[in-house]
C-alpha cells in the first residue's frame, strides 16, 4: 500500500513500509561508469571483503570514452583490470550508461538499482527504484548486496492535456524544475502521472525521469503500464511486475495542464532558471549540442532531423550530435537520420557523455554560449567557467542551429519537409 516508492520497498522487503522509515534493502544491480568506478574499486579494496555477487555489478565506459587523456586511459586500464580479475560479465562501452542499462534489460519494474551517477533516477520511468549514490556506497553494496535507504516521501505531478505544437516532454520537465526549484524535491521521490504521461512513449518518460534529480529528487517514478511491458518484452527474461500506487498519501500534488505549456529554456547557470523561449530569442549561440541521457534517443534525433532536413547549420556556429547508444546510432543510421545531420553540417560523435561533462568533443571557450539538450547548465560544465550553457528541447536546439541564435520552434515548425 502506498506510493510507487513505498510499493517497491514493501514488495522488496515483504512487509509494509512507509515514507520516513530507514530500511536495509537488497540491491538488484550496482551500476557505475568510468568516472565513478575507480573510486568504488578503491573503496572496495579498502573494505577488504569479497564481492557479494559479481553478476550484480554493471560497469560502463562512457564519460570519457575513448579516452582523451593519459589520465583517463589510466583509469580505464585500472577498471578493466578489475573487470577481468573479478569476472564482471556486465561490462559495456557502447554508449551512455543509463540508456544502455535500459536497453539491455537491467531496469525492470519493482527492482532497486543504485548507480554511481546522479541520473540513475532515470530508471523510474520503468517503475524501477533507480537512485544515484557515491562510489563508497557502491562498494558497500559490492560486499553486502544491500544498502540502506530512507523510504522517501513523494511529490506527485499530475499532467493532463496535449502538448501544443513545438512543445515536448523536455519543455514539461524544464517547467516542473522551474516550478519546484533545484532543491524542491530534495530527499523525495517524484511521481509523474496523468493522461499525458500515459500517452507518452518510453523515451519521453525517460526524459522526464532523467531530470527528477534536477529538483533534488531521489528517483522519478512512473507506474507500470502496457507500454512498459511492450518495451521490456524482448529485453529481459526477468519476471515483469506491475507497480502502481495503492491508496497513496502524497506530500504534495502538483497539477499541470500540458496544453498551456510553451517551449522553455534553462538559462545559465542553474537548471531551475527557466524562461519561456521568447524571452531569450535572438541570443547568439556558438555550439549546438544534441544528445545525452536526457535527449539522445531515436525520437529526439528524428525530431531534430525533421527540422534540419535540407537545411544547414549556421556557418559560424557548430553543431555536435551524440546518439545516446550504439543501438540508437545504428537505428538512426538505417533510417537516414545521421545523413541529414551530416548534410546539414553537424559533427556526429560516438555515443557517450563526453560533451555534457566537458571532457572532450566540443569544449567551450571563454565567452562562448551553447544551446543544448542536456540536463545541466552548471558553471564550467562544458569547459570554460566563462562560457554559458542554455538547455532546451531537441526541436528548439535544431531550429536555433539553422539561425545561429535561439529561435522559437513554434514559429516555423509547420513549414518543414518530411524525412527522406
Amino acid at each position: 500500500m502506498g506510493t510507487i516508492a513505498e510499493e517497491v520497498f514493501s514488495q522488496k522487503l515483504g512487509r509494509e513500509v512507509h515514507a520516513g522509515e530507514m530500511v536495509l534493502a537488497d540491491v538488484d544491480f550496482i551500476m557505475s561508469h568510468d568516472s565513478t568506478t575507480p573510486l568504488a574499486i578503491a573503496a572496495w579494496e579498502e573494505i577488504g571483503k569479497p564481492l557479494f555477487d559479481p553478476d550484480r555489478i554493471v560497469i560502463h565506459f562512457d564519460h570519457f570514452y575513448p579516452s582523451p587523456s593519459i589520465n583517463g586511459s589510466l583509469l580505464h586500464q585500472r577498471t578493466l583490470a578489475f573487470v577481468k580479475k573479478q569476472g564482471i560479465k556486465n561490462f559495456y562501452h557502447e554508449g551512455i550508461c543509463h540508456q544502455v542499462m535500459v536497453e539491455k534489460g537491467f531496469v525492470v519494474p519493482g527492482t532497486i538499482v543504485i548507480g554511481g551517477d546522479s541520473h540513475t533516477c532515470t530508471y523510474g520511468a520503468l517503475s524501477c527504484f533507480g537512485t544515484g549514490m557515491g562510489s563508497t556506497d557502491l562498494a558497500v553494496s559490492y560486499v553486502t548486496g544491500k544498502n540502506w535507504f530512507m523510504v522517501p516521501h513523494t511529490l506527485r505531478f499530475e499532467i493532463q492535456g496535449k502538448f501544443p505544437q513545438g512543445v515536448y516532454a523536455k519543455d514539461l520537465i524544464l517547467n516542473l524544475v522551474g516550478k519546484v526549484g533545484a532543491g524542491g524535491a530534495n530527499y523525495k521521490a517524484c511521481e509523474f502521472s496523468g493522461p499525458t504521461i500515459h500517452a507518452m512513449s518510453i523515451s519521453e518518460r525517460l526524459t522526464l525521469s532523467n531530470m527528477a534529480v534536477e529538483m533534488g529528487g531521489k528517483v522519478g517514478l512512473i507506474e507500470t503500464d502496457e507500454k512498459t511491458f511492450r518495451f521490456l518484452k524482448n529485453r529481459t527474461s526477468r519476471p515483469l511486475k506491475i507497480i502502481r500506487p495503492q491508496n497513496p498519501r502524497y506530500e504534495n500534488v502538483i497539477e499541470v495542464e500540458a496544453g498551456y505549456l510553451q517551449p522553455f529554456v534553462a538559462v545559465p547557470h542553474q537548471v531551475d532558471q527557466i524562461k519561456p523561449v521568447e524571452e531569450v530569442e535572438g541570443t547568439e549561440i556558438d555550439e549546438f549540442f544534441l544528445g545525452t541521457c536526457t535527449n539522445g534517443r531515436l525520437d529526439d534525433l528524428k525530431i531534430a532531423a525533421k527540422i534540419l532536413a535540407g537545411k544547414k547549420v549556421h556557418p559560424l556556429s557548430r553543431m555536435v550530435v551524440n546518439p545516446a547508444s550504439n543501438e540508437i546510432y545504428t537505428q538512426a543510421e538505417r533510417q537516414g537520420i545521421l545523413r541529414v545531420f551530416r548534410d546539414a553540417g553537424a559533427t556526429i560523435c560516438n555515443p557517450g557523455c563526453g560533451v555534457c561533462v566537458g571532457r572532450h568533443q566540443g569544449i567551450l571557450a571563454p565567452g562562448e554560449k551553447a544551446l543544448t539538450t542536456m540536463n545541466r547548465n552548471f558553471l564550467g560544465r562544458m569547459g570554460s567557467p566563462e562560457a554559458q550553457i542554455y538547455l532546451a528541447s531537441p526541436a528548439t536546439v535544431a531550429i536555433s542551429a539553422i539561425y545561429g541564435r535561439i529561435t522559437d520552434p513554434r514559429k516555423i515548425l509547420s513549414t518543414f519537409s518530411p524525412l527522406p
Partner: protein, 164 residues
C-alpha cells in the same frame, strides 16, 4: 579554531570540483582544484581545521564523491548548511566528512570569522563574542557511521545490519 568559508544556496558539485579535474582519484590533487572557479582563493588559502558555512541544497548535482573528498582533503573540518543535496550528504557521511544542518547559523556568522566546533555537544562557538550556534544532532544510524569515521571503517568492525 578555524576560519569560516561562507557560501550561498545551491552550491553544486561542478562548483566544488569541476568535471574536467575529475580525471583522478587522488584527494590531494582534487583539493588543488576545489572551488577553484567560484572561490579562486580557496585552494591556496584554506587551512586544516577551517569550516564551511552554506545555505540551502549544498552539494547538488552529480553523484561524484570527488566533491566531498576534495573538500575533506582541503582540510575542512566540518560543513554546516541550511540543507544538503541528498547524494552529497550520503557521500560526505560515508567518507567521514562531518556535515551538519543548522537553520540559523548562516545569518549569524560572516565569511572570515573564526569559530570553535564542539562535535560532542553539537554547536559552534565564536570565542570573540562568546556566541554559541547549535546545529542539529545526527539521526542515530548516521551517528554510528560518523562515529566510526565513515562507512568503510564501520564495515570493517560491524555489519550493515548493525546500522538499524
Amino acid at each position: 579554531m578555524g576560519r569560516v568559508w561562507k557560501f550561498g544556496n545551491n552550491i553544486n558539485t561542478d562548483e566544488i570540483i569541476p568535471g574536467r579535474f575529475n580525471i583522478t582519484t587522488d584527494p590531494k590533487v582534487l583539493a588543488q582544484h576545489c572551488f577553484c572557479e567560484v572561490r579562486p582563493d580557496f585552494p591556496s588559502s584554506v587551512k586544516p581545521g577551517d569550516l564551511i558555512i552554506a545555505g540551502e541544497n549544498f552539494g547538488s548535482g552529480s553523484s561524484r564523491e570527488h566533491a566531498p573528498l576534495a573538500i575533506k582533503a582541503s582540510g575542512i573540518k566540518v560543513i554546516i548548511a541550511y540543507s544538503f543535496a541528498r547524494i552529497f550528504y550520503r557521500n560526505a557521511i560515508n567518507v567521514g566528512l562531518p556535515v551538519f544542518i543548522s537553520e540559523e547559523i548562516l545569518t549569524r556568522v560572516g565569511d572570515g570569522d573564526h569559530l570553535e566546533i564542539d562535535f560532542e555537544n553539537f554547536y559552534v562557538k565564536d570565542p570573540e563574542t562568546e556566541g554559541i550556534f547549535p546545529f542539529q544532532p545526527l539521526p542515530l544510524f548516521i551517528l554510528k557511521i560518523f562515529k566510526a569515521g565513515g562507512i568503510i571503517p564501520f564495515l570493517k568492525e560491524s555489519n550493515l545490519e548493525d546500522l538499524c
